[in-house]
Symmetry: C2
Amino acid sequence: MAAVIYTPYAARVFIIDNMKDMLGRDNVISAGEALGRLLNCLPGELPAEVGIPIEGSLGRICSRDLLSPEDLPHFARSTVDGYAVSARSTFGATETMPAYLNLSQEVFMGDKADFLVSPMSAAKIPTGGMLPGATDAVVMFEHVSVLDENTIEVLKPVAPGENVIQAGEDVRIGESLLLRGWRMRPQDIGACAGVGVTKIVVYERPTVSVISTGDEIVAADSTPDSAHIRDINSYVLSAMVSQAGCLPLKRGIFRDNYAEVRSVIELSIAESSAVIISGGTSVGAKDLIAKIINDMGSPGVLFHGVSMKPGKPVIGGMVGGVPVFGLPGHPAAVAVCFDVFIRPVLDRLCGYRERFTGAGRRTVKARLSKNVSSSQGREEHVRVVLEERPDGLWAIPVLGKSGLITTLVKADGTFVIPVNENGVEQREVIEVRLF
Amino acid sequence: MAAVIYTPYAARVFIIDNMKDMLGRDNVISAGEALGRLLNCLPGELPAEVGIPIEGSLGRICSRDLLSPEDLPHFARSTVDGYAVSARSTFGATETMPAYLNLSQEVFMGDKADFLVSPMSAAKIPTGGMLPGATDAVVMFEHVSVLDENTIEVLKPVAPGENVIQAGEDVRIGESLLLRGWRMRPQDIGACAGVGVTKIVVYERPTVSVISTGDEIVAADSTPDSAHIRDINSYVLSAMVSQAGCLPLKRGIFRDNYAEVRSVIELSIAESSAVIISGGTSVGAKDLIAKIINDMGSPGVLFHGVSMKPGKPVIGGMVGGVPVFGLPGHPAAVAVCFDVFIRPVLDRLCGYRERFTGAGRRTVKARLSKNVSSSQGREEHVRVVLEERPDGLWAIPVLGKSGLITTLVKADGTFVIPVNENGVEQREVIEVRLF
C-alpha cells in the first residue's frame, strides 16, 4: 500500500508499513538474535539470601559454591551385614580351603567400635556399622560358615576396602558439594543434611511485574459489558513467572493511555527485576508501549517485531538495567513469547546455570499427524495435542486462531518449524516442548 | 550357604536366605508387577477442596470437569486493525477493480458497537473491537486504500467470518473447559479467568508421612558421635513428596525398635494418605518393617524384594487403605524406589490423570559413553552425568556405591537397563530420566 492519501489513522498506517519493512526479507530479526540482544545487556547478579533452611530450598538457586565442612561419612562403614576382617587374613580362601577366623567382639549399629580386631580374627558387623580398628573389609554372611560360637570359616576372599564405605568417600572436607548456579533438587538438599549444613545461601527470587493493558480489558472477577472481555493474560503470565522460580507481582489492568501506562511501568521498574506488559493488540496500543520504553531511557527498545509466529509484534527492551517485555495480547503469542524470550531471561536473572543445554526443558518425540506448512522466513510455533496410539505417540496440530485461550488448554505443547523451512511432513518425528 | 549350624544371627541368616529365594530366578517379582499390586488396591479418591482461587491453583488437580458458565468471547471480535464489512460487499474486489465502500461510524476499543452498518458500507475497527450490526468480516488496513473521509477502496475480498473471532468460538457456554484429573497449568488458569471462574474445585493434597529409622541415625542439625551419621533420607524424601504435589509430614528419626516404629507408623496411617519409612539397611531392621506392616492388618506386605538394582529390598504394603513403603537406606535406592513405586502411587492418590503416558516425566536422549553391563533377571537403574560435546549429548555413568549421596548430586538422571538385558553398549542412544 504505497499511497496513503488521507485517513485519521495515517500515523498508524505508517507504523504498520514501518514494521513490515523491519520484518522484510532484507532485515528480518530472528528470535535468536532478539534474545541475544536482551541477554547481552542483563544486569549483574541478584543479592543473596542467607540462612535459608534446606527444607525450604527446593528449586532455589545456589549463590555460591558450597564446600563440605566435614568428611562424609566421618568413619569407615560396612555396606553389608557380615564380618569385619583384615582382608589379608582371607586371601586364598575357597569353599574347600576356607580361612578360619576367631570371632572377636561384635559391632552394634550406632555404637563406637573402639576396639582392635587382631589378625586372623573377625567381628560381626551390621550394614552401616563402624569398622573396628585394624579391619579394612567386610565378608558378607553369605560367604561365611559359622562353625561355633568362637569360629567362622570364610569361603571367599575379600579385597581391602571391599563392602566398605571409607571415611570421606562420599564427600571430603573442603570438597565442593554444590556449585553456584545450581537449582536445588531433593538429593542436593539431602547432601547438605548429610554434612550438617541445614541452612544455605541462595539468590533472591526475582520479582516480576505483570501488567495488563487494553481499553477492552476488565478484571476476571467482574462482569464485562457487552464490548469488554476479561483479563486472561495476567493470570497466564503470573503462573508462568511462578513456574520459572520468580515472584509475580500483578500490577492490574491499565487503559491504553500514555501517562497511566508509563506511570505503572516506572513503578514496576523501580520495584522489580523484570516487567511484562501484555495487551496492545491494536496498532496504536503496540506503538504506545514501544514509545514509552524508548522515552524512559537508554537503550530502550532492543527489538520490536521478530520473524516468529505467533508473537511477531513482541517488544523487548531494557530500561535502567531492567528488562521490559511488551507482548501481543493473543494468549498463544503470550505463551510462545514467554517460552522463547522471557523464560531464558528470568533463568539468567535467577542466577540459574544449566548443567547441560535443555536441562530445564520437558520434551517428547512424536510423529506429526498431518502436513503443516510454514512461511519461509519465519519461525513457526505450532500447538499440538499428543495422542497415544498403538504405534506410538502422535502429535495432532491444534487448529484455531492464536487469540483463543482454549487452543492452549487443549494443547499439550508446541513444536517449532525453523525459520528457513517450508513446513513439516506427515509422519515426520518432531520434538514437542511440553507445557 | 546350606548349613547354618550355630549363630546368634541364625534368624537373620534365615531371612537372607528366604529373601534370596523370593528373588530367585523362578519366582522373581518384577518392578512392574510390584507396582501393579500397589495400584490395584489403592483407596478411592480424596475429598475435594472448594473455592481455591485460581491464582493459587498452579499444579493442583481438578476434581471435577469444569463447564464454562458463558460464551468466550461473548461478542464477535475483530482479530486485526481494519474495516468491519459485510463480506458480500467485497466479493470480486481486486486492485484494479476495487470495491468502493462508504465509511460509516467507527468502532472504538471497549465500546459497544450498537449500530448497523448498511450494505456497501464499512466501519473502522481496531483489533479486539466488537463487530457492529450487519457486519461479518473485517478487511485489514493493508488491503484497503483510503480515498477520502467518507470512502475506501477494498482491494481484496474477504470471506464471511474472516479476521473475526465469533461469539463462543473460544469456548461455548456449557462446554467442558477443564477435565477432572488435569493438573492446572498457566493456560488453564487463564481460561478460567476468561470465563469469570476465579475459584475452582481441586482435590485435597495428600499428606505423606516420612519416617527415618536406624539406630545409627541422628538429626541433620546435630553433631553425630563417632559411629552415627546424620539423617539424609527424610530430607530427600520430603522434597520428592513436595515435587509430586503432596504435603510431606516429617515424623522424625526412630530407633530400630518394634514398639517405637509400630507406634509412629500407626499414627502416620491415621493421619496421612501414604507412609514412607526409610532406613533399615541391616537385615534385622528390614525384617522389622515388614513384620510391623504385616502385624498391623490386611493385606499388609504386598511385596518385599524386587528384581531391581538399586532398591532390591524395597517393601510395599497396604494397611487400612493406606500405602506403606519401606525403603532401603541407601540414597540411590531411595531415589530409584521413589521414582518407580512412590511417585506413581502419589500421582494416583492426587487424582492426577496423565493426558498421555509420560506426560509428567522429563527425559532426554543421549549416547552412552561406555559399555554398562547388567545381570539378566534384574532391572538396573544407572545414574549418569550428561555432558554436551560437539557431536551431541553424552551420558557418562556415575560410578560409586549406591550408599553415597554425592553420586546422586553429581548425576543428572538415570537410565534403565531392562530386566532381560545384559547391558547397554557404548554409543547406544539411551533415554535419560532427568532428576
